[in-house]
């Protein structure tokens, strides 16, 4: 039945999203590796990233991960329920 197939297809893609989330988080949190440090800018005109900016960036990533994680967790539960209905 095309309806069920579509459903389980959706569920697989949902799981893919769940799997990708930590990867996305790791990439976003790897961005600080690119920032110039205090030593890097010593003697040049550039300014190092200020700690407050760094805090804001890192915690925004964190918040996004929590919110996305919660949303996906809800979806996973929802699709679990559907899956069981579909199976039995």
């Amino acid at each position: 039945m095309p309806f069920l197939q579509r459903q389980s297809y959706r569920r697989r893609r949902l799981i893919d999203t769940v799997r990708m989330l930590p990867v996305v988080g790791a990439i976003l949190w790897a961005v600080p590796l690119l920032w110039p440090t205090k030593e890097d800018v010593a003697g040049s005109a550039d300014k190092a990233i200020s700690t407050s900016d760094a805090i804001i960036y890192i915690f925004l990533v964190w918040l996004a991960l929590v919110v996305l994680g919660a949303w996906l967790a809800r979806l996973v539960k929802h699709s679990d329920a559907l899956e069981e209905e579909g199976d039995r």
Binding site: I15, V18, R19, L21, P22, V23, G25, A26, W29, A30, P32, L33, W35, P36, T37, K38, E39, K47, A48, I49, S50, T51, S52, A54, I55, I58, F59, W62, L63, L65, V66, V67, G69, A70, A73, V76, K77
Partner: protein, 896 residues
Amino acid sequence: MGTLNILVGVCLMYVVFLFFVAFVAERAAIRGQSGWLRSPLIYTLSLSIYCTAWTFYGAVGYAARSGLEYLTIYIGPTLVVVGWWWVLRKLVRIGRTQRITSIADLISSRYGKSNLLAVGVTILAVIGTTPYIALQLQSVTISFDVFSNAYGESLTQTSQDSNALWVASGLALFTIVFGTRNLDVNERHHGVVMAIAVEAIVKLFALLAVGVFVVWGVAGGVGDIFARIDSSALGQWQMRGDRWAALIFLSAAAFLCLPRMFQVMVIENEEEDHLRTASWAFPLYLMVMSLFVVPIAVVGLDLMPAGSNPDFFVLTVPLATGNDGLAMLSFLGGFSSATSMVIVAALALSTMVSNHIVMPIWLSTQSSGASVSGDVRHVVLLSRRISIAAVVFLGYLYFRLSGGGAALASIGLISFAGVAQFLPVLLGGIFWRGATRTGALVGLTVGFVIWAYALLLPSFGTGTLISETVLAEGPYGIGWLRPQAFFGITGMDPLIHAILWSILLNTVSFFVASLVGFPSPLERLQGAQFVNVFEHSSTPQGWSGSLAQSEDLMVMAQRIIGAREAQSLFEKEAKRQGVSGLLPEPSPDFLQSLERELAGSVGAATAHAMIGQIVGGASVSVEDLMAVADETAQMMEYSSRLEAKSEEQARTARQLRQANDKLTQLSEQKDNFLSQVSHELRTPMTSIRAFSEILRDSERLTDDEKIKYSSIIHDEAIRLTRLLDDLLDLSVLENGQVNLNQQTGVLSDVLDHALSSALTGNAFAELKIIRQLSREKLSLTTDLDRLSQVFINLIANAQKYCDAEKPVLRVEVGRGDAQLVVDFIDNGSGISKEDQTVIFEKFARTGEQRVSGAGLGLAICREIMTRLGGTVDYLPGQGGAAFRVTLPEQVALAAQ
């Protein structure tokens, strides 16, 4: 000592409160009212034992020293938990299906229930955790010290030590009371989990309270605190990239491998679904925990005199600003962090020590074997209790010996790096079937040796355990083995250096040794079980025993899991097997499940050994492995059979549909026939009635008229008779009551007779007949009258239905394989495809009813031919209507 007394009083009250919480939770669990104990929230909060006193106090100190580096310690676990679908979900599932009791049990179970591996992991875990426990004790004592200093009461070294001893004893007592209350087969401790959940709230609340106070009480809100941060010494990004990446990796690895984390995450997990909630709730907890760390550090650096210990800003900042209540709360937060860590760590380590070291030794000293020894249950509990006390005391000892100096502060990351050595073996075990016991042993050994050599020993300070010359020039002057510059690569951060080389070489040697070695059957079985835990969650059969051993097993089980539990387990199994009495057959299934029950109490390796002692012999053979493979093959076969079956069903359904269509068509034909037959019967009847009435009622009829009318009546009566004869004939033929009158004759004579009968008196259509007389000279032995009846019918049909302008009928005689064939082919428009399927049915009449007829002729023909041992079929594709009559060869041969 007044303030200190208050402090001690508050502490005691808090501890009493914890005991009370744990007690209530245990009671509720026993009475089965544990619904609220099993909420995902409790699970998430219990994970927070990751945040120890080291993170509660230490994070602020860390931030004050190294800026945002402290965040790595939280970011790693966040990524692991957010990625729950990858590893945690699998770990939890394996933990539940295999009744894993600790990380050592998991690793030993995976690699063929090897006790050597379990002992190794246990010892390494103790080495890695003891300094950490010491660190907790230190933080509690120092926080006492800080408090008393603030009130001008300085503690002597001895009273500090005795404080630590008191705290250690209290923690050991709590762990013993609630951690070894019962020998639960599932190894879950509701009291402990509830208590640490409460402590998680206390420490979060305390840190938040201090944070809020600092931001809005000391500084002037968010804007001001950001300004203060940027203008402070920490104001600019100063993170080294290698440390950032490596520490995130390290904390993620440690989060998975720390024995205490494994305990709360996998062992105490009530439901797999809780992980789903924790996947976002725990990162949220970590985020909130780390939110105010930098503000507190910056304000502390501003506020406190230079040279004060930044590790205790959380405590000293409220004290310095005169907020005694807040300081007290903060003290309780730190106390909570320390105690919950020690409790769970002691619990996890004691399980490992007792299951993998004490019990095997004890069992081997019992010469008589497991079945006849004393009360094993009691021994297990006792060994757990002693192990708890020993682990906590070891921590205390470490604290005393290290002198509580600054060396301890750096021990957190060193400890992390130590347990992170489990990571390759752990992940390899659950994702790679090829990982072997030898590989695990080699990998762990290499990793730990490098860790100890490059990180642990130098951490005690140059000259204590490792000499200056070794550090500078390498052992025996071998330059490329310098502890902090392997292969001559200098200039690396010592911590990063050690992590990189230990994990890298650990992984490589684990991999290579696994590739080279050859695993035992049990290892391969367990490997398949672990790696494919989602495909088949059952364990394969391993044991085979005889009935005589059931009693021994019962005796042993009673001693380990308790008499009542064991009896009900055996009784249930006996009932399932349909055996009368209490003792079931020791079927492989039963032995397997019994082993798992026992494993819940004493660990997989010990349980395996105990059952092995009673049942004896190698438990897994190549044949068993083959059986497992067979099972898989059978399942595949089964599914392909199912597929075939469903195809067959689809075919049957198609056939049924066809049959149904035919039936419907036939029923329609019957209705048509009935109306036709009544019409056919009525027409002659009407004329018979009419003419007989004329004959009866009219007196002035001439003789000619009389003859004419009577002959009409006569003809109509004949027509009626013929119709009735046909019906009768058909029914006789169908019932098989016909008697064949065997005669011998020549085919051409039969055809001659048939043609003359069929064509006489039908002048209205001139049917031209084409025959092959030479071929017709065949003698036949059969019922010639019946055969001729068939021919007449076919010829008459051609005459009646052939719609060509100049109708021609060809009669062709031929020989097929072992049969004689006579074809009647006309040059009309033939019979449509739909009609072809039904013309031989009774009552069938083709589309337009141009010519009258009851539709019985062909049905009769078919019946006759069947009786004669031949057939009559429609022959499609001849350019007109064509019928083929076949006769068995012997009919013709017999006469030659």
